[in-house]
């Protein structure tokens, strides 16, 4: 009886071991019939033998060998389950990816474009080099910096937008919009007119070119142009003369300033001013005496009556 129990114990344990090993092997495609395929990459980013091979996201095989064949070429051999090879064609593309963001490396096989024969033993797949995480991050950093600047600017703009009412008014004003519309319509009209005018103008210019009309004659007449030239020369000489005259003027004014000549003396002589002042004073005293004399005259008898009468008339007049 004990021997039976022992037999059961040993058998169960061995069976469990074999089952476990089989399950592990089946996950690694060891017991499936497989075909061997390869692909070459510049950089495999830490791919190891035993990593998964996926076809459109399902596990179809494992990597059996990773080895260098040149200074920048790594060859990867992998086994693919024979059952799925009928769906993978010779033009499929192999790329290196990761399981999740930080998971194990793996090879992704994606179908190629167009028709092609199914994959066979020993085929080499076209490859896409993996995204280098650090490169991607570097670019992302740059983009982020730019984005920050842009958003800062945008923030400033929106702040100004909020702070200033007039812009809102501008945006919400319907009459303005109507006006603008009108203006645009008028602009359009003006534009049309302008086009007509331009047409006329161009015709006129063409005429002028050909020497038609008075302006044309004027512009195309060479004799006239020599005359014009001469006139300009004359004007030039006149302005020269003017220059000489103004030079003289400047000389005179500087002399005046310095007190040269009679007028200058008159303007700069202080003794003369003093005399003039004195004379004015004498005149003032003279007028004062005269006013006194006149007052005395008012009160002398022949004129007294007249002044009194005038005083009365003034009072009644008020």
């Amino acid at each position: 009886m004990n021997r039976v129990k022992l037999g059961a114990f040993v058998l169960i344990a061995t069976l469990l071991l074999i089952l476990g090993l089989y399950y592990i092997g089946s996950k690694k495609n060891i017991f499936h019939s497989t075909i061997s395929v390869k692909a070459s990459f510049n950089n495999v980013g830490g791919l190891l033998p035993g990593n998964n091979v996926r076809f459109n996201g399902i596990n179809v095989g494992t990597i059996s060998k990773v080895y260098a064949v040149a200074d920048s070429l790594i060859c990867v051999d992998f086994k693919i389950d024979k059952d799925v090879t009928q769906y993978i064609h010779k033009n499929a593309v192999a790329s290196i990816g990761t399981d999740g963001l930080l998971g194990n490396k793996l090879i992704n096989i994606s179908p190629g474009h167009g028709q092609s024969a199914p994959l066979e033993e020993g085929d080499e797949l076209a490859s896409v080099n993996p995204i280098q995480m650090d490169n991607a991050l570097r670019t992302l950093t740059m983009t982020n910096d730019n984005l920050k600047e842009i958003t800062d600017n945008l923030k400033g703009v929106s702040e100004k937008f909020n702070a200033d009412n007039s812009l809102w008014k501008l945006l919400t004003d319907t009459t303005l919009a109507a006006n603008v519309k009108n203006a645009i319509v008028k602009f359009k009209l003006t534009g049309e007119n302008t086009a007509i005018i331009t047409g006329d103008l161009s015709r006129i210019v063409q005429d002028v070119k050909k020497g038609k009309g008075s302006i044309g004659a004027l512009l195309t007449d060479t004799a006239f142009s020599t005359k014009l030239n001469q006139t300009i020369v004359n004007i030039h000489s006149i302005s020269d003369t003017l220059g000489v005259i103004s030079g003289n003027f400047s000389l005179i004014s500087s002399r005046l300033k310095n007190g040269q000549g009679t007028v200058g003396m008159l303007l700069t002589d202080t003794t003369f001013v003093h005399n003039l002042n004195q004379s004015m004073n004498s005149i003032k005293t003279g007028t004062g005496s005269f006013s006194e004399n006149m007052e005395a005259l008012k009160h002398s008898w022949p004129f007294k009556k007249y002044f009194r009468k005038q005083q009365k008339a003034n009072k009644t007049g008020k």
Partner: protein, 255 residues
């Protein structure tokens, strides 16, 4: 010097080495004691399975429950089955099983052979024409060598079932998904070293138990001492072998 710690250690090591050599010399030479081997296998295998199974189950459950908070902190709850299964299969179950067996089987063998030695049954066996070393030591060491790997496999299975229950305490994972996740991450490099090292665990437990029992002195007092020192030495050697196995696996890149 003759009674120093170092002297004792060196002579003990030399004696165990000589004992092991004798085991290999006599073990592979006929005649084979199959009846006794099977009887010993039954006692060591079947009679220990219950204890080892419960321990394995509890370890699977406990490791899962303990790992859950830290895995949750990383948002990696879905990785729990894979992580727990790898740590169970690689390390925890073989070592725990070996320690339980060192306690149960090592002390049992030590006490059994020790009492036979002090009651002079071993000498009597020799007189009666039976090779006592073949009959007692070789069968027991082979039995531990064969049974402990099997116990480890069974305990792995029970422990993984415990882990399945532990995972389902906090989240819902179907049994199918659980086994898929477990065998997705387990590799031969996880399973084979653990099976191979449990052979060595079994050998160490058997040979030390037998050595201590076979060389018992000082009467019935010595029987207790033999059983005790068999457990202590076997436990220590199990950890030594575990350390060596881990380093060898690392050197050979079986990770």
């Amino acid at each position: 010097m003759k009674s120093g710690f170092l002297y004792n250690l060196l002579t003990e090591t030399a004696d165990i080495y000589r004992f092991a050599l004798r085991f290999f010399k006599e073990g592979f030479r006929p005649r084979y004691e199959f009846g006794e081997l099977i009887r010993q296998c039954y006692y060591i295998g079947n009679k220990t399975l219950g204890l080892v199974g419960i321990t394995g189950f509890i370890m699977g459950l406990v490791i899962t429950i303990q790992s859950h908070p830290s895995m949750e902190a990383f948002g990696a709850e879905s990785w729990l089955p894979s992580v727990v299964s790898v740590s169970l299969v690689r390390e925890i179950v073989p070592v725990i099983t070996a320690l339980i067996c060192a306690g149960k089987i090592g002390s049992g063998i030590g006490a059994e052979l020790g009492s036979m030695k002090v009651t002079e049954q071993i000498d009597a066996m020799e007189v009666s024409g039976t090779n006592p070393f073949k009959y007692l030591v070789v069968t027991r060491v082979f039995a531990t060598m064969l049974m402990i790997p099997l116990l480890v496999i069974l305990s792995d299975t029970i422990g993984l079932y415990g882990a399945y229950l532990g995972v389902n305490m906090k989240q819902v994972v179907s049994f199918h998904l659980f086994t898929n996740q477990v065998f997705e991450k387990l590799t031969y490099a996880d399973v084979m070293p653990s099976i191979i090292k449990s052979f060595f665990f079994g050998f160490a437990i058997g040979i030390i138990g037998c050595f201590k029992g076979y060389n018992t002195t000082n009467g019935t007092q010595g029987v207790g001492r033999a059983a005790n020192s068999a457990v202590v030495a076997a436990t220590f050697v199990v950890f030594l072998i575990d350390l060596m196995a881990a380093q060898i696996a690392d050197i050979l890149h079986i990770t």
